[in-house]
Symmetry: C2
Subunit: 326 residues, 2 copies
């Protein structure tokens, strides 16, 4: 577990958590409620359980809840039921609209929660929407933290998610033991909700463009007769490498499009980039990558792994990628 404190102008560097505070962390047993057992929410929920936090989960999928109960957790039928006894409500749904529904909609969490309950919103959404939702939480007598995640399902399962967190220091300090239980790294990005989401948005800009670039590189490589396994090995040791080339490029080389993160996630996340940038800030690479993800989604690949944009390009180029039939 590593806590990184950054933000407010100067980079303050990496700060290791002292053993004493780690022990204090372990002895503080906040009651947690996790809303949304997708890949990241699931990892957070089981990590909280593993570290001894009483945790109740809410999801619309019966099988996810049954699996969580089998892990030793509790289940609730609605966000309201889950939030009623919680000190901490963590939200892991897909977008801003779903967040609004589980918080403020019918059987929503906020109306049922105790005053002063801390809501940690781990959803990638437009920074402006995050600021708005956090303000509404505070107006309802709750505390709010903006904390989108990075690192994917693998890191989440092992309790090593990265959090890009912002919000009042005292609020963040109060729930830090629980956040530490599910995170490998926590960036503290200032005391204003929205700041975490802005950094996450920039991360997604890069991630999305890099996936599209990987797809283009693999397609052109295949078209020119380069063995893709060799290409992967050389590029991952060279200046053309990216986190996404290394991660998603392996999917293309292995012809495995099992969705770890789906095409439609980047239709959403690059859509956020382009809409928040607006006319005032040019985003030519994001525009181009977004068009590719949209085209892949329209071609029926929306729920496949985001590396499937390579299949779209390869089809246009008339070249066969590993493990791809047509």
């Amino acid at each position: 577990m590593q806590v990184v404190q950054t933000g407010r102008g100067a980079v303050r560097g990496v700060t290791g958590l002292r053993p004493e505070s780690r022990r204090n962390a372990m002895s503080t047993k906040l009651n947690a409620c996790v809303i949304g057992l997708g890949s990241i929410g699931w990892g957070a929920a089981v990590s909280l359980l593993r570290e001894g936090f009483p945790t109740v989960a809410v999801d619309i999928r019966e099988e996810a809840l049954a699996k969580f109960v089998a892990e030793g957790g509790r289940r609730a039928a609605t966000p309201a039921e889950g939030a009623a006894e919680a000190d901490l409500v963590m939200v892991f749904v897909v977008n801003a609209a779903q967040t609004e529904t589980v918080l403020f909609g019918e059987n929503g969490a906020v109306a049922a929660a105790k005053p002063g309950t801390t809501f940690v919103i781990c959803v990638t959404m437009p920074p402006s929407a995050m600021s708005d939702i956090c303000a509404r939480l505070e107006a309802a007598g709750m505390k709010a933290i903006d904390a989108p995640t990075s690192g994917g399902s693998g890191k989440a399962a092992s309790g090593e998610t990265t959090l890009m967190a912002s919000g009042p220091d005292a609020v963040l300090d109060g729930v830090m033991p629980a956040l530490e239980a599910m995170s490998g790294r926590i960036y503290r990005l200032g005391d204003t909700c929205g700041a975490g989401s802005r950094v996450k948005m920039i991360n997604q800009l890069l991630a999305g463009v890099h996936i599209a670039a990987m797809a283009e590189a693999m397609t052109l490589g295949a078209k020119m007769g380069v063995d893709l396994g060799t290409l992967y090995e050389v590029i991952t040791g060279s200046a053309g490498n990216s986190w996404m080339f290394e991660n998603r490029g392996a999917h293309v080389v292995n012809g495995d499009y099992t969705p770890h993160s789906a095409v439609d996630i980047f239709v959403k996340d690059l859509g956020i980039v382009v809409s928040e940038a607006g006319d005032g800030c040019p985003t030519p690479l994001s525009d181009t990558a977004l068009a590719l993800f949209k085209e892949a989604s329209a071609a029926g690949m929306g729920r496949e792994d985001d590396a499937a944009v390579a299949k779209l390009l390869a089809k246009k180029a008339g070249v066969k990628l590993p493990g791809v039939e047509d």
Copy 2:
């Protein structure tokens, strides 16, 4: 020193060089000629000297030659003079046209070289041009290796350049001691000249797009009020990272556009990608990034560091980057 053998279908993995062959390497003193003392060629030339290879250098810049003599090397007035006594001629000029001139033009190396001299062409050029030049070398009674480099001036200076090499095994084996003297890693990408250049071209596709994406990310971050030092620290630890974000992003954060690799290099290298891909293979990200580099060059930034594309975008967005005046 690490030799990586890959290619011809299966990835054969990383093979450490045995101490005996390293000793053999050290006792083989090929006479080397280095044509072109730019950042990579300079690093190669001084690395060869350092490892005891008698080395003569050719360049059009008097000061580079004087500096090389001060390092203990020899100088030649023309490629012909430099190549006359060499067993190995390494070429580090900028593009295919310059390569043709130093090899086959007036006072060119080929006419003066001993039959069977090995020419190692470390220039990034279209793979089709590389194949053509190597074929002409062989037709002239010479041996040829296609070996573009990666890793930049820093790695070159310390003798740790990456080589993406292809060509006949026996030819490559014959000059391996000299290549090892200047390289941290040598990928052997098959016995056909052109194969190394194809992999290098894909590397440049990714590198160029990643630089442009870094520029876009930094500009949008600045526009939204994110501290760029903080953004840099978070992204370099997250899924949005790339080798180029880490390397060139630091230039933007520090406002330092000292040219380690210039904008015009990517006008050339992404131009190669787009022209070699032709109409048969879509390259939307490369097209978009190339347009940015061209626009930056047209705006007078062609000789600045390639990270200067960020200045172009920031100007359009009406936002100030660190260390940038207007």
